[in-house]
Protein backbone atom coordinates (compact mmCIF):
# COMPACT_ATOMS: atom_id res chain seq x y z
CA UNK A 1 0.00 0.00 0.00
CA UNK A 2 1.73 3.15 -1.20
CA UNK A 3 1.31 6.13 -3.49
CA UNK A 4 2.67 4.04 -6.35
CA UNK A 5 -0.53 1.96 -6.45
CA UNK A 6 -2.92 2.19 -9.40
CA UNK A 7 -5.22 4.73 -7.68
CA UNK A 8 -4.68 8.01 -9.51
CA UNK A 9 -5.76 10.34 -6.70
CA UNK A 10 -6.18 10.04 -2.94
CA UNK A 11 -9.80 9.78 -1.83
CA UNK A 12 -9.69 9.70 1.94
CA UNK A 13 -7.71 11.15 4.82
CA UNK A 14 -6.04 7.74 5.13
CA UNK A 15 -4.91 7.89 1.50
CA UNK A 16 -3.46 11.38 2.02
CA UNK A 17 -1.74 10.21 5.21
CA UNK A 18 -0.06 7.43 3.22
CA UNK A 19 1.06 9.92 0.55
CA UNK A 20 2.52 12.17 3.22
CA UNK A 21 4.26 9.19 4.80
CA UNK A 22 5.76 8.29 1.42
CA UNK A 23 6.97 11.88 1.04
CA UNK A 24 8.46 11.83 4.54
CA UNK A 25 10.35 8.61 3.81
CA UNK A 26 11.61 10.09 0.52
CA UNK A 27 12.89 13.27 2.22
CA UNK A 28 14.54 11.28 5.01
CA UNK A 29 16.28 8.96 2.57
CA UNK A 30 17.40 11.90 0.47
CA UNK A 31 19.00 13.33 3.63
CA UNK A 32 21.31 10.31 3.85
CA UNK A 33 23.35 11.39 0.85
CA UNK A 34 22.46 15.08 0.66
CA UNK A 35 25.24 17.66 0.22
CA UNK A 36 25.74 19.72 3.39
CA UNK A 37 24.24 22.87 1.86
CA UNK A 38 20.96 21.05 1.04
CA UNK A 39 20.63 19.05 4.26
CA UNK A 40 18.97 21.79 6.39
CA UNK A 41 16.44 22.47 3.64
CA UNK A 42 15.56 18.79 3.29
CA UNK A 43 15.38 18.45 7.07
CA UNK A 44 12.94 21.36 7.27
CA UNK A 45 10.79 19.92 4.50
CA UNK A 46 10.71 16.50 6.17
CA UNK A 47 9.73 18.06 9.52
CA UNK A 48 6.95 20.07 7.89
CA UNK A 49 5.56 16.98 6.14
CA UNK A 50 5.68 15.03 9.40
CA UNK A 51 3.92 17.79 11.30
CA UNK A 52 1.17 17.96 8.66
CA UNK A 53 0.85 14.17 8.77
CA UNK A 54 0.42 14.24 12.57
CA UNK A 55 -2.35 16.86 12.40
CA UNK A 56 -4.16 15.03 9.62
CA UNK A 57 -3.91 11.64 11.32
CA UNK A 58 -5.21 12.92 14.66
CA UNK A 59 -8.22 14.67 13.12
CA UNK A 60 -8.93 11.87 10.61
CA UNK A 61 -8.89 9.17 13.26
CA UNK A 62 -11.20 11.24 15.42
CA UNK A 63 -13.75 11.57 12.59
CA UNK A 64 -13.54 7.86 11.75
CA UNK A 65 -14.01 6.95 15.42
CA UNK A 66 -17.17 9.05 15.65
CA UNK A 67 -18.68 7.27 12.66
CA UNK A 68 -17.70 3.82 13.90
CA UNK A 69 -19.09 4.48 17.36
CA UNK A 70 -22.56 4.97 15.90
CA UNK A 71 -22.26 1.87 13.74
CA UNK A 72 -21.14 -0.22 16.75
CA UNK A 73 -24.48 0.60 18.38
CA UNK A 74 -26.37 -0.38 15.26
CA UNK A 75 -24.53 -3.69 14.99
CA UNK A 76 -25.69 -4.59 18.48
CA UNK A 77 -29.25 -5.03 17.14
CA UNK A 78 -28.67 -8.08 14.91
CA UNK A 79 -26.23 -9.48 17.51
CA UNK A 80 -28.93 -9.23 20.17
CA UNK A 81 -31.48 -10.92 17.93
CA UNK A 82 -29.09 -13.80 17.28
CA UNK A 83 -28.46 -14.22 21.00
CA UNK A 84 -32.24 -14.29 21.49
CA UNK A 85 -32.59 -16.94 18.78
CA UNK A 86 -30.00 -19.07 20.54
CA UNK A 87 -31.93 -18.72 23.81
CA UNK A 88 -35.21 -19.68 22.12
CA UNK A 89 -33.66 -22.80 20.58
CA UNK A 90 -32.07 -23.76 23.90
CA UNK A 91 -35.43 -23.24 25.64
CA UNK A 92 -37.23 -25.42 23.10
CA UNK A 93 -34.64 -28.14 23.51
CA UNK A 94 -34.94 -28.11 27.30
CA UNK A 95 -38.75 -28.00 27.26
CA UNK A 96 -38.95 -30.95 24.86
CA UNK A 97 -36.52 -32.98 26.97
CA UNK A 98 -38.41 -32.27 30.18
CA UNK A 99 -41.76 -33.11 28.54
CA UNK A 100 -40.32 -36.37 27.17
CA UNK A 101 -39.10 -37.35 30.64
CA UNK A 102 -42.51 -36.58 32.17
CA UNK A 103 -44.37 -38.56 29.52
CA UNK A 104 -41.90 -41.44 29.88
CA UNK A 105 -42.58 -41.54 33.60
CA UNK A 106 -46.30 -41.46 33.00
CA UNK A 107 -46.07 -44.25 30.43
CA UNK A 108 -44.12 -46.45 32.83
CA UNK A 109 -46.89 -46.01 35.39
CA UNK A 110 -49.71 -46.88 33.00
CA UNK A 111 -49.33 -50.71 33.18
CA UNK A 112 -49.56 -50.47 36.95
CA UNK A 113 -52.90 -48.68 36.86
Amino acid sequence: MSSTSSNPAPKTVGDVAILLSDAYVAFSEALDDAPPELAPLLQSAASLVRWTQDQLETQGLHDDAQALQKLTGQLNDPTGKLAQLKNVLQGLQQAAEVAAAVVDSAASLLPLL
Binding site: M1, T12, V13, G14, D15, A17, I18, S21, D22, Y24, V25, S28, E29, L31, D32, P40, Q43, R50, Q53, D54, E57, T58, G60, L61, H62, D63, D64, A65, Q66, A67, L68, Q69, L71, T72, Q74, L75, N76, D77, P78, T79, K81, L82, A83, L85, K86, L89, Q90, L92, Q93, A95, A96, E97, A99, A100, V103, D104, A106, A107, L110, P111
Partner: protein
Amino acid sequence: MCVACIVLSCCARPKDANLTAFANATSTLATAAKNASSLDVQIDAKLRAAAAARNYAAGSPLKFDPKGGTFITGKSDADWKAVTAFLDAVNGYATALSQANDAKLVGGVTGGITSLGTALANANAASALANPNNQQRINLISGAVADLVGVVGNGYAAIEIRAAMNEAQPILQAARGPLKDSLKIVFADATSKLEDYKQALRCRLSIAGARPGTQASCPPGKDIHVADAAPPTSLEKYDAYLAAWQDYLAIQASVQALGNLPAAVDAMIAAHEKLKDDPDNSAALAGFLQAVGDIAAKEGQFEALNG
Protein backbone atom coordinates in the same frame (compact mmCIF):
# COMPACT_ATOMS: atom_id res chain seq x y z
CA MET B 1 -42.93 -35.18 3.10
CA CYS B 2 -42.93 -32.94 0.01
CA VAL B 3 -43.84 -29.96 2.20
CA ALA B 4 -40.85 -30.77 4.36
CA CYS B 5 -38.62 -30.90 1.26
CA ILE B 6 -39.84 -27.50 0.09
CA VAL B 7 -39.37 -25.95 3.53
CA LEU B 8 -35.87 -27.41 3.79
CA SER B 9 -34.81 -26.27 0.34
CA CYS B 10 -35.95 -22.65 0.80
CA CYS B 11 -34.91 -22.16 4.42
CA ALA B 12 -31.83 -24.28 5.01
CA ARG B 13 -29.44 -22.95 7.64
CA PRO B 14 -26.00 -21.83 6.48
CA LYS B 15 -23.21 -24.38 6.79
CA ASP B 16 -21.90 -24.44 10.36
CA ALA B 17 -18.31 -24.63 9.18
CA ASN B 18 -18.71 -21.47 7.09
CA LEU B 19 -20.05 -19.33 9.92
CA THR B 20 -17.54 -20.74 12.41
CA ALA B 21 -14.67 -19.94 10.02
CA PHE B 22 -16.10 -16.46 9.44
CA ALA B 23 -16.32 -15.81 13.19
CA ASN B 24 -12.75 -17.05 13.75
CA ALA B 25 -11.44 -14.85 10.93
CA THR B 26 -13.15 -11.74 12.37
CA SER B 27 -11.47 -12.52 15.69
CA THR B 28 -8.06 -12.66 13.96
CA LEU B 29 -8.77 -9.37 12.21
CA ALA B 30 -9.75 -7.65 15.48
CA THR B 31 -6.57 -8.95 17.14
CA ALA B 32 -4.42 -7.80 14.22
CA ALA B 33 -5.90 -4.30 14.44
CA LYS B 34 -5.14 -4.17 18.17
CA ASN B 35 -1.59 -5.32 17.44
CA ALA B 36 -1.30 -2.47 14.92
CA SER B 37 -1.59 0.20 17.60
CA SER B 38 0.72 -1.77 19.90
CA LEU B 39 3.32 -1.83 17.12
CA ASP B 40 3.01 1.93 16.59
CA VAL B 41 3.57 2.46 20.32
CA GLN B 42 6.46 -0.01 20.35
CA ILE B 43 8.29 1.76 17.52
CA ASP B 44 7.71 5.08 19.26
CA ALA B 45 9.25 3.70 22.46
CA LYS B 46 12.31 2.51 20.51
CA LEU B 47 12.65 5.96 18.94
CA ARG B 48 12.56 7.65 22.33
CA ALA B 49 15.18 5.26 23.68
CA ALA B 50 17.38 5.80 20.60
CA ALA B 51 17.13 9.60 20.96
CA ALA B 52 18.06 9.40 24.66
CA ALA B 53 21.01 7.09 23.89
CA ARG B 54 22.21 9.38 21.09
CA ASN B 55 22.09 12.41 23.38
CA TYR B 56 24.02 10.52 26.04
CA ALA B 57 26.61 9.38 23.49
CA ALA B 58 26.94 12.99 22.31
CA GLY B 59 27.95 14.05 25.81
CA SER B 60 24.67 15.27 27.27
CA PRO B 61 24.24 14.74 31.02
CA LEU B 62 22.99 11.27 31.91
CA LYS B 63 19.17 11.12 32.11
CA PHE B 64 18.06 7.52 32.61
CA ASP B 65 14.29 7.85 32.59
CA PRO B 66 12.84 5.13 30.32
CA LYS B 67 9.33 5.96 29.11
CA GLY B 68 6.89 4.08 26.95
CA GLY B 69 5.94 5.22 23.50
CA THR B 70 2.73 6.92 22.43
CA PHE B 71 0.17 5.96 19.80
CA ILE B 72 0.42 8.42 16.87
CA THR B 73 0.92 11.74 18.71
CA GLY B 74 -0.57 10.60 22.00
CA LYS B 75 -3.93 12.28 21.38
CA SER B 76 -5.76 9.43 19.64
CA ASP B 77 -6.00 6.65 22.24
CA ALA B 78 -9.74 7.11 22.84
CA ASP B 79 -10.47 7.33 19.12
CA TRP B 80 -8.55 4.15 18.42
CA LYS B 81 -10.55 2.37 21.13
CA ALA B 82 -13.72 3.21 19.16
CA VAL B 83 -12.17 1.61 16.07
CA THR B 84 -11.20 -1.61 17.83
CA ALA B 85 -14.56 -1.63 19.65
CA PHE B 86 -16.28 -1.80 16.27
CA LEU B 87 -14.11 -4.74 15.21
CA ASP B 88 -14.89 -6.44 18.53
CA ALA B 89 -18.59 -5.83 17.84
CA VAL B 90 -18.20 -7.46 14.42
CA ASN B 91 -16.58 -10.44 16.10
CA GLY B 92 -19.38 -10.54 18.68
CA TYR B 93 -21.96 -10.50 15.91
CA ALA B 94 -20.15 -13.23 13.94
CA THR B 95 -19.84 -15.38 17.07
CA ALA B 96 -23.56 -14.95 17.82
CA LEU B 97 -24.26 -15.90 14.20
CA SER B 98 -22.18 -19.05 14.55
CA GLN B 99 -23.71 -19.98 17.92
CA ALA B 100 -27.31 -19.48 16.77
CA ASN B 101 -26.52 -21.63 13.75
CA ASP B 102 -24.86 -24.37 15.78
CA ALA B 103 -25.98 -27.75 14.45
CA LYS B 104 -25.92 -29.22 17.96
CA LEU B 105 -28.40 -26.58 19.12
CA VAL B 106 -30.92 -27.10 16.33
CA GLY B 107 -30.21 -30.83 16.44
CA GLY B 108 -30.84 -30.76 20.17
CA VAL B 109 -34.29 -29.27 19.60
CA THR B 110 -35.05 -31.92 17.01
CA GLY B 111 -33.71 -34.63 19.32
CA GLY B 112 -35.80 -33.37 22.21
CA ILE B 113 -38.91 -33.34 20.07
CA THR B 114 -38.12 -36.84 18.78
CA SER B 115 -37.77 -38.10 22.37
CA LEU B 116 -41.08 -36.49 23.18
CA GLY B 117 -42.69 -38.16 20.18
CA THR B 118 -41.28 -41.54 21.18
CA ALA B 119 -42.44 -41.07 24.76
CA LEU B 120 -45.92 -40.18 23.57
CA ALA B 121 -45.96 -43.23 21.33
CA ASN B 122 -44.90 -45.43 24.25
CA ALA B 123 -47.60 -43.95 26.43
CA ASN B 124 -50.20 -44.54 23.81
CA ALA B 125 -48.88 -48.04 23.23
CA ALA B 126 -49.18 -48.78 26.91
CA SER B 127 -52.83 -47.79 26.83
CA ALA B 128 -53.57 -49.69 23.61
CA LEU B 129 -51.75 -52.98 24.15
CA ALA B 130 -54.40 -55.02 22.53
CA ASN B 131 -54.16 -53.43 19.07
CA PRO B 132 -50.80 -53.79 17.17
CA ASN B 133 -52.14 -51.79 14.20
CA ASN B 134 -52.72 -48.81 16.48
CA GLN B 135 -49.19 -49.15 17.81
CA GLN B 136 -47.69 -48.99 14.31
CA ARG B 137 -49.89 -46.05 13.33
CA ILE B 138 -48.95 -44.12 16.47
CA ASN B 139 -45.24 -44.71 15.86
CA LEU B 140 -45.55 -43.44 12.29
CA ILE B 141 -47.47 -40.33 13.33
CA SER B 142 -45.05 -39.60 16.19
CA GLY B 143 -42.08 -39.92 13.83
CA ALA B 144 -43.69 -37.65 11.25
CA VAL B 145 -44.50 -35.01 13.89
CA ALA B 146 -40.92 -35.09 15.14
CA ASP B 147 -39.59 -34.69 11.58
CA LEU B 148 -41.92 -31.80 10.90
CA VAL B 149 -40.95 -30.02 14.11
CA GLY B 150 -37.30 -30.53 13.17
CA VAL B 151 -37.91 -28.97 9.78
CA VAL B 152 -39.77 -26.05 11.35
CA GLY B 153 -36.98 -25.58 13.91
CA ASN B 154 -34.40 -25.50 11.13
CA GLY B 155 -36.55 -23.17 9.07
CA TYR B 156 -37.15 -20.82 11.99
CA ALA B 157 -33.43 -20.63 12.75
CA ALA B 158 -32.61 -20.11 9.07
CA ILE B 159 -35.10 -17.26 8.67
CA GLU B 160 -33.87 -15.48 11.79
CA ILE B 161 -30.22 -15.92 10.83
CA ARG B 162 -30.78 -14.57 7.35
CA ALA B 163 -32.74 -11.62 8.74
CA ALA B 164 -29.84 -10.79 11.04
CA MET B 165 -27.35 -11.05 8.17
CA ASN B 166 -29.51 -8.79 6.00
CA GLU B 167 -29.61 -6.27 8.83
CA ALA B 168 -25.86 -6.41 9.43
CA GLN B 169 -24.72 -6.11 5.80
CA PRO B 170 -25.53 -2.38 5.31
CA ILE B 171 -23.90 -1.60 8.68
CA LEU B 172 -20.71 -3.33 7.55
CA GLN B 173 -20.87 -1.47 4.23
CA ALA B 174 -21.24 1.87 6.03
CA ALA B 175 -18.27 1.01 8.28
CA ARG B 176 -16.00 0.12 5.36
CA GLY B 177 -14.87 3.73 4.72
CA PRO B 178 -14.03 4.88 8.25
CA LEU B 179 -12.61 1.48 9.20
CA LYS B 180 -10.21 1.28 6.25
CA ASP B 181 -9.33 4.94 6.66
CA SER B 182 -8.36 4.57 10.30
CA LEU B 183 -6.26 1.50 9.52
CA LYS B 184 -4.48 3.42 6.73
CA ILE B 185 -3.76 6.24 9.18
CA VAL B 186 -2.08 3.84 11.60
CA PHE B 187 -0.13 2.26 8.74
CA ALA B 188 1.07 5.69 7.55
CA ASP B 189 2.14 6.69 11.05
CA ALA B 190 3.98 3.43 11.70
CA THR B 191 5.74 3.72 8.31
CA SER B 192 7.03 7.21 9.15
CA LYS B 193 8.12 6.11 12.60
CA LEU B 194 9.89 3.11 11.07
CA GLU B 195 11.82 5.51 8.80
CA ASP B 196 12.86 7.53 11.87
CA TYR B 197 13.97 4.32 13.53
CA LYS B 198 16.02 3.39 10.47
CA GLN B 199 17.81 6.74 10.77
CA ALA B 200 18.41 6.04 14.46
CA LEU B 201 19.96 2.67 13.60
CA ARG B 202 22.19 4.37 11.00
CA CYS B 203 23.32 6.76 13.69
CA ARG B 204 24.10 3.89 16.03
CA LEU B 205 26.11 2.07 13.34
CA SER B 206 27.97 5.25 12.57
CA ILE B 207 28.97 5.54 16.22
CA ALA B 208 29.96 1.86 16.34
CA GLY B 209 32.14 2.21 13.23
CA ALA B 210 33.74 5.60 13.82
CA ARG B 211 37.45 5.96 14.62
CA PRO B 212 38.43 7.96 17.71
CA GLY B 213 38.52 11.68 17.11
CA THR B 214 36.10 11.61 14.18
CA GLN B 215 32.43 12.53 13.83
CA ALA B 216 29.72 9.85 13.73
CA SER B 217 27.07 10.68 11.17
CA CYS B 218 23.74 11.20 12.87
CA PRO B 219 20.80 13.36 11.75
CA PRO B 220 21.97 16.80 10.50
CA GLY B 221 23.04 19.03 13.31
CA LYS B 222 23.38 16.09 15.70
CA ASP B 223 26.67 14.53 14.58
CA ILE B 224 28.54 12.98 17.46
CA HIS B 225 32.21 13.38 18.27
CA VAL B 226 33.60 9.92 18.95
CA ALA B 227 36.29 9.86 21.63
CA ASP B 228 36.68 6.13 22.33
CA ALA B 229 40.15 4.95 23.30
CA ALA B 230 40.37 2.21 20.71
CA PRO B 231 38.78 1.87 17.26
CA PRO B 232 36.21 -0.90 16.90
CA THR B 233 37.34 -4.19 15.42
CA SER B 234 36.02 -5.36 12.06
CA LEU B 235 34.09 -8.13 13.80
CA GLU B 236 32.45 -5.64 16.17
CA LYS B 237 31.40 -3.51 13.22
CA TYR B 238 30.12 -6.59 11.38
CA ASP B 239 28.07 -7.77 14.37
CA ALA B 240 26.67 -4.31 15.01
CA TYR B 241 25.57 -4.09 11.38
CA LEU B 242 23.80 -7.47 11.46
CA ALA B 243 22.08 -6.70 14.77
CA ALA B 244 20.72 -3.40 13.44
CA TRP B 245 19.62 -5.08 10.21
CA GLN B 246 17.71 -7.80 12.03
CA ASP B 247 16.11 -5.30 14.38
CA TYR B 248 14.90 -3.24 11.41
CA LEU B 249 13.65 -6.25 9.41
CA ALA B 250 11.57 -7.52 12.31
CA ILE B 251 9.67 -4.27 12.65
CA GLN B 252 9.39 -3.79 8.90
CA ALA B 253 7.63 -7.17 8.53
CA SER B 254 5.01 -6.14 11.04
CA VAL B 255 4.49 -2.71 9.50
CA GLN B 256 3.97 -4.41 6.13
CA ALA B 257 1.32 -6.63 7.74
CA LEU B 258 -0.49 -3.44 8.80
CA GLY B 259 -0.64 -2.42 5.17
CA ASN B 260 -2.78 -5.47 4.42
CA LEU B 261 -5.46 -4.68 7.01
CA PRO B 262 -7.64 -2.41 4.81
CA ALA B 263 -7.80 -5.12 2.14
CA ALA B 264 -8.78 -7.64 4.82
CA VAL B 265 -11.71 -5.37 5.78
CA ASP B 266 -12.85 -5.39 2.15
CA ALA B 267 -12.53 -9.18 2.06
CA MET B 268 -14.54 -9.54 5.28
CA ILE B 269 -17.45 -7.46 3.99
CA ALA B 270 -17.41 -9.28 0.65
CA ALA B 271 -17.40 -12.67 2.43
CA HIS B 272 -20.37 -11.65 4.59
CA GLU B 273 -22.33 -10.53 1.56
CA LYS B 274 -21.65 -13.78 -0.30
CA LEU B 275 -22.54 -15.89 2.75
CA LYS B 276 -25.76 -13.93 3.16
CA ASP B 277 -26.77 -14.68 -0.41
CA ASP B 278 -25.33 -18.19 -0.65
CA PRO B 279 -24.73 -19.61 2.85
CA ASP B 280 -23.33 -22.92 1.63
CA ASN B 281 -20.69 -21.34 -0.57
CA SER B 282 -17.39 -22.22 1.11
CA ALA B 283 -15.51 -20.36 -1.63
CA ALA B 284 -17.13 -17.13 -0.41
CA LEU B 285 -14.74 -17.15 2.53
CA ALA B 286 -11.56 -17.90 0.59
CA GLY B 287 -10.46 -14.29 0.08
CA PHE B 288 -11.09 -13.30 3.69
CA LEU B 289 -9.35 -16.35 5.15
CA GLN B 290 -6.37 -15.77 2.84
CA ALA B 291 -6.14 -12.10 3.89
CA VAL B 292 -6.19 -12.74 7.64
CA GLY B 293 -3.87 -15.74 7.17
CA ASP B 294 -1.29 -13.51 5.48
CA ILE B 295 -1.50 -10.93 8.26
CA ALA B 296 -1.16 -13.59 10.96
CA ALA B 297 1.84 -15.11 9.13
CA LYS B 298 3.62 -11.74 8.95
CA GLU B 299 2.90 -11.09 12.61
CA GLY B 300 4.32 -14.52 13.38
CA GLN B 301 7.44 -13.54 11.43
CA PHE B 302 7.76 -10.47 13.66
CA GLU B 303 7.43 -12.60 16.79
CA ALA B 304 10.04 -15.07 15.50
CA LEU B 305 12.56 -12.36 14.63
CA ASN B 306 12.02 -10.74 18.02
CA GLY B 307 12.99 -14.06 19.58
